[in-house]
Structure formats: structure tokens, C-alpha cells
Amino acid sequence: MKIKICGVRGSLTTTDPATVLYGGNTSCIGVWENGWQLVLDGGSGIQKLKLDEKLAAKRIDILLTHLHLDHIQGLGFFKPLFDPEMEVHIWGPVSSSESLHARLRRYLSPPLFPVHIRDLPCQLELHEIEKSSFDIGPFSIMSDYVIHPGPTVGYRLSCNKGVVCYIPDHEPALGERGIINDSKWISGFDLAKGADLLIHDSQYTAKEYQLKKGWGHSSIDDAGFFASIADVKHVLYSHHDPYRTDKQVDEMFAEFTGRTEYPFKQEMAKEGMEIEL
């Protein structure tokens, strides 16, 4: 299983030269296995994704964690959507009020976007998911709601090469006592448990988080604690704050790792990274 990190910036794209090392594109990950290609979130990083010419079928699956703009803004520029021969499946969380189609249509229609979702030339199929299990080619996928404003899921992708967990927007510490040290009471735990790779929200420092509780994101401290309870092997801290420069990302990571000791491999997610499981 090959994983390519195409967008790691949270909330808003950045073009500041001081952010080019980690990258300014918003959330998007490509995953390949055995001739199948998945896309995790459709942020602006999706423009960096190339369609695999050796796909087993003319099909691509886009798994959306939620529909905040930084996770869908690249969708309208994803070339397979404009290819009549391509079968495009978009998976996204159920909402109690509107269908996935209706919510995507808000973005994929004027005045926000010139093309209506109904006019996209590809063979588009939408799938509403919740706490769900489903298979796509060689991947067994589990989704579940996680704590973040609005309907939001995380994903656990398993194949015979390993397990990847993707929870880019997540606030498991929301509450009086932060993360409750009991796996039954931790949002996202079942998704992350024992994963070979966890890609997780770490938008804030611990100090910043105190002023941003309820905004739906994690401090790097909470992300590390979550990863340790879930007993993962490798963590990529992601969803970098749009105002954080590369130098500040490095400082944040150095400060965090300087005072914590975790047994797993940990890195700040960086645009262009490729990981093979």
C-alpha cells in the first residue's frame, strides 16, 4: 500500500514562501494498492494527485471526512470528474438534515462554482456513510463519526499490507477533563487502534488549544496522547495551522518531542511525503 501526502494545511491554503516546506495545500491523501486508487478528502492538494494509468478499472473513490471547504475545495478541479469514461465514487458522512448530494451541490453549483454537480461528465455515484464497513477493491474500510463540528467521520483502511487511519479533523479532548483515559470513551479509538500509520489533526500547541476549545481540532499533545492510547506504530501530525510557518512547525515539533517520550515513530506531515506499507 502506497500513501502519498498531497495536502496537510488546515482550514485555509497558504501561499507564503515561509510555508513551502510543509506545503500550503489543504487536506488530501492518495492511497494505492494493487491497481486501485483512493483519495482521502478533496482539499486543494488534490491537484497534486495523478491518476494511476495502471488502474484495474476506470474507477476512483474519493472518501470525504466531512464537507468543510478545506476538505472539498479541490473537488471541482479533479480531472476524473470531467472524464465520461471514469466511474467516480464519492463517500461522505450522513447528515440528519440534508443528503450528501444536496450538501455537495452547495459548492458544486453557481455562484461558488461554474459547473453544476449534475453536469459533471463522469459516472458519479455518491455513498452516504456513518459507522460503516465496506470494501473497495483490496481495501476493507471502516468509517465512524468523530468529534468535530458538523457530521464528520474518520477512516480506517486495511489491506493485506497494513492499516492506515485517517482523522485529519478531530477534537477528542473536548470536555472538562480532556481525553478520558479509557478507550471506550475516546472518539476515534476504534478507527486508530493498532494502526500502522495514523494521520491525525494537530493544529494547535497545547497553549493555543486552551483558547480554541470547541473549534474541532487537537493540540499536538492530545494527538500524541491519542496515538499512544491507540497503540499505533507511526503518526503523521497534520492539519497545520495556516498561520504557522515552516520554522514554527519545526519548533512546535521539537518542543513537543523534547518533553514527551512515545515509543512510536512520529513526524510532522509534509506535502509530497510518500510512505509504503
Binding site: 450522513v94 456513518e130 459507522k131 476515534g188
Partner: protein
């Protein structure tokens, strides 16, 4: 054991911040969390008891009406919520673990997630005797 649904987790986190007693149950009535103010009613700390099966915690209270007649379970708000997936409210008396009678008011509501499925229930208690 699998983690609880986030709606249950968020209800617990909310209950943790409140000064009124709150019980959270699963769909069959097992008590999966009660907050510190509720510990006073139960006479036990959650850290000590952990989760309690419905058979255990429901027998530790004796709910009675104003004439001292024991109320059947089907008339209790939480039981009605678990049965009908609706919110209920009722005032009655309970014989506490200390043996004294307290008049309480109970509001219960179902926890129904985005998919429309009931995943638990919450009961909020107010003591009326001291008012």
C-alpha cells in the same frame, strides 16, 4: 469493548461540567456513567462502581408516589424514554441509600444520533425536598 458512539461520549463530557446529577444509560438501561452530583444520590463514586447493570442500580432506589406507594418501573421517566424514545418528566419520591425520603424531579431524554437511531438515554435529577 468497542468505544461508545460520540453522542454518548459528548453527553458524558457535558455531564462532567454540570452541577446537577446526570445519569447516562445505554439502550437497555445499563448505567454507563453518572457524574459527581449523581454520586451523592447513589452514595457511590463512579470510579468505584464503574458501569452498573440495570438490575443492580434500579433496585438500589425505591421510587414511591406521594402516598408512599411504590411506583412500577413502567411509570418512571427513564424507563419510558428507553421504551418509547421520547422525553419524559415526573416528580416523585425516592428512598435514598441513606434511608431518607427525597422528593425529586426527573427529566429524561433519548440520545438519538444523526442516523436517527437511539443509542442511549440521559436522566437529569433535581432534588425538590430542600427547595
Amino acid at each position: 469493548m468497542a468505544a461508545y458512539e460520540i453522542e454518548i461520549i459528548l453527553n458524558r463530557q457535558l455531564a462532567d461540567c454540570l452541577s446537577i446529577p446526570v445519569f447516562i444509560t445505554d439502550t437497555v438501561g445499563n448505567l454507563i456513567f453518572y457524574n459527581e452530583p449523581a454520586e451523592e444520590i447513589l452514595g457511590k463514586r463512579f470510579e468505584e462502581t464503574g458501569e452498573m447493570p440495570v438490575e443492580q442500580w434500579s433496585t438500589e432506589f425505591k421510587p414511591v408516589d406521594e402516598y408512599g406507594v411504590v411506583l412500577p418501573p413502567a411509570e418512571l421517566p427513564l424507563v419510558k424514554t428507553l421504551t418509547n424514545s421520547k422525553a419524559y418528566h415526573k416528580s416523585f419520591w425516592i428512598e435514598s441509600l441513606k434511608g431518607d425520603n427525597q422528593q425529586i424531579s426527573v427529566t429524561s431524554y433519548p440520545i438519538i444520533g444523526r442516523t436517527g437511531k437511539m443509542i442511549g438515554a440521559v436522566a437529569i435529577f433535581w432534588k425538590l425536598t430542600d427547595e
